[in-house]
Symmetry: C2
Subunit: 226 residues, 2 copies
């Protein structure tokens, strides 16, 4: 018997890989995309394309984090461009969205509980990442414990599992794995500041991490750059 799993799907490279892994692991995935007022709204279209391509149901939930502001991704703050590798890994950048993964995981827990799913997938990774505190394993471990105290399922002895299959992989390892699982990365959007048509800027932190991942993996980069 196949079990259900909730997969947080942003439309980017990592979450698309995560969805393919949930499929490989034998789950029936329900994808959850969050329309949080992000500037790079074309990632929501990418989430649709990715879910369709991997034959998964997609639900989109709206929560207006723009009402809070405080991030280059939700507010009128410039997205940093052309930072070198050391800068990218050297602290929490202005593209950090306050408490974003905390909010997203909480919504995924709500969805999982209603579906009766015990498994969540989230594509966080703490190696080639952008310095976000909510991508680290210690946050995920703590959240797992908290979610099981917060929910009926947790209290009744059906604890949630929060699967983070990418957490210790490099970007090169992620694209290699995803490619082997049939992910079409041409459907995904990672750029923080794409054009309206979804073309990538090529120089924000996310674009740089992504480009180097394909280079190091010796894979063709299917990203459409502006």
């Amino acid at each position: 018997m196949q079990h259900e799993a909730v997969v947080l799907l942003s439309g980017g490279l990592d979450s698309a890989t995560c969805l393919a892994i949930a499929r490989r692991d034998g789950f029936i995935p329900t994808c959850l995309a969050v329309d949080y007022g992000q500037r790079h709204r074309c990632e929501l279209d990418a989430a649709k394309r990715v879910a369709e391509s991997l034959d998964a149901e997609l639900r989109t939930i709206r929560v207006d984090l723009r009402a809070f502001g405080g991030s280059a991704l939700t507010d009128d703050i410039d997205v940093p461009k052309g930072r070198d590798e050391q800068d990218i890994s050297g602290g929490i950048p202005v593209t950090y969205v306050p408490a974003r993964n905390l909010v997203f995981l909480s919504l995924a827990v709500a969805q999982a509980e209603v579906l009766g799913a015990q498994d969540l997938y989230i594509g966080v990774n703490q190696l080639d990442y952008s310095g976000y505190p909510d991508c680290r394993g210690e946050f995920i471990d703590s959240f797992r414990a908290t979610s099981n105290l917060a929910t009926k399922a947790g209290v009744e002895g059906k604890p949630l599992r929060i699967n983070t299959p990418l957490i210790d992989l490099t970007k090169a390892e992620i694209v290699t794995l995803g490619t082997s699982l049939g992910v079409d990365y041409g459907l995904t959007v990672s750029c923080y500041d794409p054009t309206e048509d979804g073309l990538a800027c090529g120089s924000c932190d996310a674009c740089q991490l992504r480009r180097r991942g394909f280079e190091k993996a010796n894979l063709k980069d299917p990203t459409r750059y502006a």
Copy 2:
């Protein structure tokens, strides 16, 4: 110098008391109400009245938990009426909204981080409560640790405090305290199934807990019943 605090305000009795306590504690409160698709939408109007009466700013954020369903408060499930005291405290009822306080607290953390506030207030209480797992102290303690791993403020050594001044009070103690702080409980709505005009049903769990609170405190119950 006065500091800011984020107060989760539902428009009910507990959160109104919590707001008055945040004021008493010397904070400048920013109230956060969550429009989550609740059936009892008049509680959002109550939140406005309560914030105004205590001279506090109110922000309302929308997140459609109705898209998930699974609760009598967000789905087409009947609100239980006329349950006796033992039933009310005997398990998790259908009015439980999956992961609600987890989602609300996560949003409050996002708001606090953007404001630079280190204090949150939430009016959970684990004595005269409805059996919800996300009202217990052990959940709050765990969430506090998680939120400080999730956020820039936490990582940078300015941990959030999550204040739960009502957690070990009875309803009678809560209304006694709030009355002494000038809360006008006539402005609040606790009922899970009120009329469109905001009149309370008098027989759901929330109405019963509230009514007994006023009785035991020997205070006049200002609730407008249908």
